[in-house]
Amino acid sequence: MHLFRLSLPVLFGYLPLGMAFGVLFVTELGLDWYWAVAFSVIVFAGSAQFLSVGLIANHAGLLEVFVAVFLLNSRHIFYGLTLLSSLKLTGWRKAYMVFALTDETFSLITGLPKESGLQQQDYWRLAGINQSYWVFGTLIGALLGAQLTLPDLGLEIVLPALFVVLAVEQYRTHRAAGLMLIACLIGLIAIWLWQDQMLLLSITTALVLMLINYLRQRWTSHSI
């Protein structure tokens, strides 16, 4: 009961978002409901799952899928680094905890007040409760979506909408207007050059440019 109360904020986020994913998945792709549920059980990564809808619709190559999902989720590397020394779980409990370490679960367990009296054993249970909301939302959404007979609701807007929200929040945090403008240019050029592999091309180009910039910064700071 205590854990349920702690997980309520995640419930209010995951249920509608999971439903949105389920509806979007079956209506945009015309696939059976269980594929959507399989994504939420096996992949369990919100924004990457929404991106997957677009990637499947475009029949993206599997290399592009791996690179795009890995980099989109690469922020999780820093969650792991934060928990490295404090996570005391072992065995399958630790394995599940790491598997299910979403943005929401990470912020929930790192933001817990001391007096919550939560044991490490409760962490993976909390992660499991959160995933059950996500899977349940997906299931409802996918079943609802399969019932929708309207041919075209315009749901394709949901994916760009989600990423615009995330981009706005990135700008709020980093104020990296110049950098984001360059990224936008790279993206547009990549579409113009090679629309089919736009993500792979633009992500690789951006990464190479960032590495060059990083090495240049190191070089100049060392030579001073």
Binding site: V43, V65, H76, L84, A161, V165, Q170
Partner: protein, 103 residues
Amino acid sequence: MDQSLYLISFIALAALATVATRALPFLFLSRHSQHPLLEYLGRYLPPVLMVLLVVYAVSDLPMANQQWVISLGSLILLAVTQWLSKNALLSIALGSLLYMLLI
């Protein structure tokens, strides 16, 4: 490729890529957590990536016959709402609704 086979490979690779990001620190990076390259990428990769994903996702929206006004207009409304309200559900609902009504 057969549709089911494609989907199964897709799910497997997406799951592998996701787990890799979550498990990497526990497996390899424990001694490099302060490495400046990791700090640099951790700071600047997310904003760059989000912009690329916006461009990617927007390029799938209808743009012909002045539809681009609706597509871009609803996303701009969404961005402004998010900037002012910081409420993701509200902004997505508002922007999407406008788009779905007009398109």
